[in-house]
Point group: D2
Chain length 427, copies 4
């Protein structure tokens, strides 16, 4: 979600759903604490920089998620709530037009003040008030709090993707933390999973939390097809490159080819030529050789589509993905922890992989979709143009945050997310 | 078609389909002659200019459509064919990567040579050879010729939209030709047309000509809805504007609002403030007062979506449009002639209107779609990202060129086409 | 003069000065006719195009010079004068803020109307009125008329430099007219001309016409130096290139190096690689091999300065140039005709060469300079920042238009003029 | 100095010149310590940000000045010197092509690493080695060390101008430090100071330190004129604004007018509309009302020239400024301390003011100037195009750093320096 989650969210009832205010207190503390834990290895300087307009500084993520609770929960709910600093509404509003004007997104990196320490105090101030609210708030606010926590989890993922980008732009290539990866292994051979044709139900059912864009539940008519049991691997992608993948326009969408030429794409983002003629890859753990068994990541939709064209296959639609996942399993374990690069392919359930997967589907409203009234209605709906849907989760998605109906979305040119793809074909 | 036409086109069998080589000779002469008739009112200077990268000079349209026949029919079909000028392959290739390098699109307006007269000779040279070919060519080439004629008809429409844009940018506002329009009338009240839910067949069936993006025929599952019996009128659009339509972000998609602010949109394209505080509109017949009964035209997808949000309705999907049209009628008469502005609403069949209509559907391949092999496969498929589908036809669409399954497409920001919209709502 | 000449111009008294109204009639007819003769080989299409913002269409030059007489002579002088078309004041004002708003410079190439024929009628209309005025006008208007004729001569030169640029951008490389040039000859060895130190008088003296930026006459103190007896030749420039001239930053000004890298300069403008590994050059007569004896032309100030640094010399200041020219001769013969490329070096007087010569001097006002009051004061003075002075004349400067004190000026990055340079060094 | 200091600098002999190695030790410690003192009020976050490509982060200034000593003194002088980090040569080279490739200037603000603490260690490492070198180095290195110290003083000024710009872009407008200013006082009436015509000596004489662009000493011939005894005040500038200074193109240079329109200039930089219809000004001490007695500051050359044109006067040339200063006094006291805004006018010597003053002179080499060989020759010479000379000093110039012959230079559009101007007129 370059832009993101939303409203109308009924209270949740599944494993992730707090069964009581008591559970919610735990969950609030856990999610908020997870953000701080992710930021902890980063210095004040690291938390301040912004490496491109689409990325945000770490401390901005920490403050914006806090502003979300302050604006949508504390201020409406508690008459006696005193905002920590009234200027923060301008600084830390991301894109909510209904809330008022805001600091320009590309200029977030010049905000040396408030300091990192001040942001920590801001978080503590809001947390104290929130813990009080959770104990007393009406149920409708619990829904909003759950939304706020899911929103914060989305920013946890962005925090990592954004600092990865920032470190990439630093010639000395800092490392966020070390993590071993086997660079010799090969991915297991891809197998096809069948998806029968007919009417499939799509969308989130039940009262567990979901974003508004996952609803209403509706039915779609699909043709029979089959889908790969895992995303495309680095090793497979190297074969595409070796066959002229980046030099042959016949594989590419027109916009994609134009961008690849203009930006001189020669490989996935974060790859750089190695001295031996091969490639090395920048990771949150530093620069290292490629790992052929990893899913290829940090590719745009254009690259995914070009690979599919080259292979004689195609990408699955988001509906096919959802249908196949329902049939063949997936769903990450809540015990999973955030990793800094995708795990090697093989071993996990077919739809429980470590990269977001581009689908053939444009990001559009489901039949009958209506955004919530007011600012919170801006969460998802207003981004429904010129973006493609990604399904699944990635290695930096917080545990428990994903589900079968989850719709992530980015412009087709985006590459700084952990984005890969898998193949499909008609039967 | 931001850019286009296409392949796999079987020979045609309906009213528009030449029944024989003899018919094809007539049709070839008619279409080619129509292009020349459209260009005839334009001076050599008029035919040379290019007012923006997305538009092309008149003489370029005349040459490019000729190059299409030369490249895809004459050269493969006739060993003894001598190209009129071997440099034209570079100058007049639009976007076919497989054919070779080409002149930069934004620089078409600096090609003072070849002259307008030279282009006329080029057309005559190719026409002579084509008439010979039609008499002798194998059937597969007749398919390509039919594609070439449909391609040329698309460029006839572009020729008019592009010269309209060029004249708009000239402060003395030249007129292409005069044409009366009633500026006092009001559009009849819009009525709703029902579309029952269930499985609908989508796509072009039969052996009449169609573009490859209209196939394969497939089935979609639709929910019951109803659709307006005509596009939104200028008069209705003025009410949206009077209610702050261009000042209230809550109606707009995020990308649309950003563009509207950056470009300072205050009204549809080609509207300019009148001295009396109202608006005047630039047309191919000069500048004149608004005609409230006309369909609103020259709006982007963003404006169409904002109007729909304001009205509490939505746009129809392309499938709903196709289904409703099949049910409620449409299809322009072959006797229709090209007009320079949309006819007032009322009187025509519900789906036989004078503006292209934005739909809620992104331009994507139909299930099972595969582009043709080779250059001709670039006609449509490679544009299937970041564009929205428009259905219907416009006042400048050549008679006989449209049909129920026709898919036009442009980026959501495009405004220089005769683009309007109609409303729909769920039942 | 990217922008140009001006006012306060006293009536002239030298060979170029009309001695009487009768002479002025002749001169008016001659200058106006020369413009038409230069435009005659160009088609309506050629006269309409604009290949970059700094260049203007031929027909715009023809109209703007006419507008100059209409605005600054006919309208103030003749109460009964009826402008040919009142909209032309907007279309053909170049940069005179005091006269009112104007059409954007980069958009001159989209003005297909008024047509080339209409511009011819405009010129005839103004010429008829001007001939009447010349017979009756007070002396002060004769001064303005003389200014208008010098202004038109400047645009004659621009007309040729601009169409050269336009044809360069056309892949089929049209030719304006043929003209032979010896491509084997070598330039004679450069000799040094001494300029003694001390006080030199600078600026235009006498009552012949000059532009206001050539005055007041004033004195400058110069150090002894010596100056080349001719500009740098193509052959000499090739040695600079062979020695890594375009790859070695140590020769370059910082801005120049940045631009050379950004624009990938590898040779003077209009040079293109030949199949034999050498270079060919685009000229108004078509593309041909280099002529080593020609002065190098179409180089920026940055390239001139880099060459000088490489050679261990420097460029002369404009004062040194003027002093040396006074001492060593120059002054083109009035019988000279406009050529389309520079004559080979050798044979002409030292300061009577066929390229404008960059000097070390920024374009600044002479001590005591004050611009004229009103619009005509905008002719020269407002351009006195960020431009460098060029001295001399070029092969496309109209005969009789140049003089020892003439100050041409362009930004240091400009390359589309016939601009070369010569060396100097301190003694 | 947009970028600068330089070479060929002989050892110094005046008050600022160390008389011995012992003096040099003191001076080195003093200058290096002054940098640290200026940075001390700034947090790690403050020291990391970059608010525009022309500005640099505080920590970059601290590191770059250190790299200068490491590269030009320690590495050539001491065989056993071990660079602190070999990657710093890439990160902290500003513009020395001869030294090798470097980090892109606009991307200095994404370097969160090395940290502020690491830069402090870098400075300490180099300082230890430098103190050893000073005790033992040959005299030629003392010259380079003196250059390095003057270079560091230039960056001390930039550090403050750059952080002022950064804080301006933060909506909460942080303050660097408080400093009182009288906002009611009026400047004393400006008086004229005569400068007789004739030959004046220009440039730095003697063996005290100067930059290479202040030499060779040479003579210029000046016309008699008179010069204001102080810069233009804020109060006077308000009268220009009240008379339509920013709305009337007749006062402006062409480039200046174009930029003022494009950037919507309405007042000097750092001024913002106050609620009472007047103006407030952003300073390093926070935002406060205007002080009419202050010299106007943060104006571009274009604004200075427009004011002069409006007033019927002109700016002085740099030679007139130098001549008048020699005649009428100036020279800041070494006891002066760095202030954060200009002192009110009146009281100081005529040429000892708190703003840099734009002159009418383009930045060009003095007759006979030749840059030093090697990297150090890039210090000044390569910037001699498209920039204007400023003379004097500003409130943030380190004490003892300025002198009568000092030539500062910036592009005419620059506004983020403490730049004002004074008037002159011919006699």
């Amino acid at each position: 979600m370059q832009q993101n989650p939303a409203a109308r969210a009924p209270v949740t009832s599944d494993a992730r759903r707090p069964n009581s205010r008591f559970d919610m207190l735990d969950r609030y503390r856990a999610v908020r604490g997870a953000t701080e834990a992710l930021a902890a290895p980063l210095s004040a300087e690291d938390q301040t920089i912004q490496s491109m307009p689409d990325a945000s500084p770490t401390k901005w993520h920490r403050a914006h998620t806090t502003w979300f609770f302050e604006t949508f929960v504390l201020t409406p709910q508690r008459r006696d709530y005193r905002p920590f600093d009234t200027r923060y509404g301008y600084l830390f509003n991301s894109y909510y037009e209904a809330v008022g004007p805001r600091h320009a997104r590309p200029a977030r990196g010049i905000l040396s003040r408030p300091s990192v320490d001040e942001i920590a105090r801001y978080r503590a101030h809001v947390d104290r008030a929130m813990l009080d609210v959770i104990e007393a708030a009406p149920a409708e606010f619990l829904t909003l709090i759950e939304l706020g926590l899911n929103h914060e989890q989305q920013h946890q993922e962005l925090l990592l993707t954004d600092i990865k980008h920032a470190f990439w732009n630093n010639p000395i290539r800092p490392s966020y933390r070390a993590e071993a990866v086997p660079v010799e292994a090969r991915a297991p051979t891809m197998q096809w999973l069948d998806l029968p044709g007919g009417i499939h139900e799509i969308g989130h059912r039940g009262d567990a939390f979901c974003f508004d864009n996952e609803q209403p539940v509706h039915r779609v008519l699909l043709r029979p097809c089959r889908i790969g049991d895992r995303p495309t691997s680095v090793g497979e992608y190297l074969a595409f490159m070796a066959d002229g993948g980046y030099e042959r326009p016949e594989f590419w969408l027109s916009d994609g080819w134009a961008m690849a030429q203009a930006e001189q794409w020669r490989a996935p983002f974060y790859w750089e030529p190695a001295e031996d003629g091969g490639w090395r890859v920048h990771t949150l753990g530093g620069t290292r050789p490629l790992a052929p068994a990893e899913p290829v990541s940090h590719v745009s939709y254009y690259e995914a589509a070009a690979y599919a064209q080259w292979s004689g296959k195609r990408l699955p639609t988001e509906f096919e993905y959802e249908g196949a996942r329902r049939r063949h399993g997936g769903g990450s374990s809540p015990e999973r922890t955030v990793r800094i690069h995708p795990a090697p392919l093989g071993g996990a359930a077919p739809f429980d992989q470590d990269v977001w997967e581009w689908t053939l589907s444009s990001y559009s409203p489901y039949p009958g979709y209506r955004a919530a009234v007011g600012a919170i209605g801006e969460y998802n709906g207003k981004f429904m143009s010129s973006q493609m849907v990604l399904r699944g989760r990635s290695c930096v998605t917080p545990p428990g945050h994903e589900r079968a109906t989850y719709r992530n979305f980015f412009p087709p040119s985006a590459r700084w997310q952990f984005s890969g793809f898998r193949l499909a074909e008609d039967l």
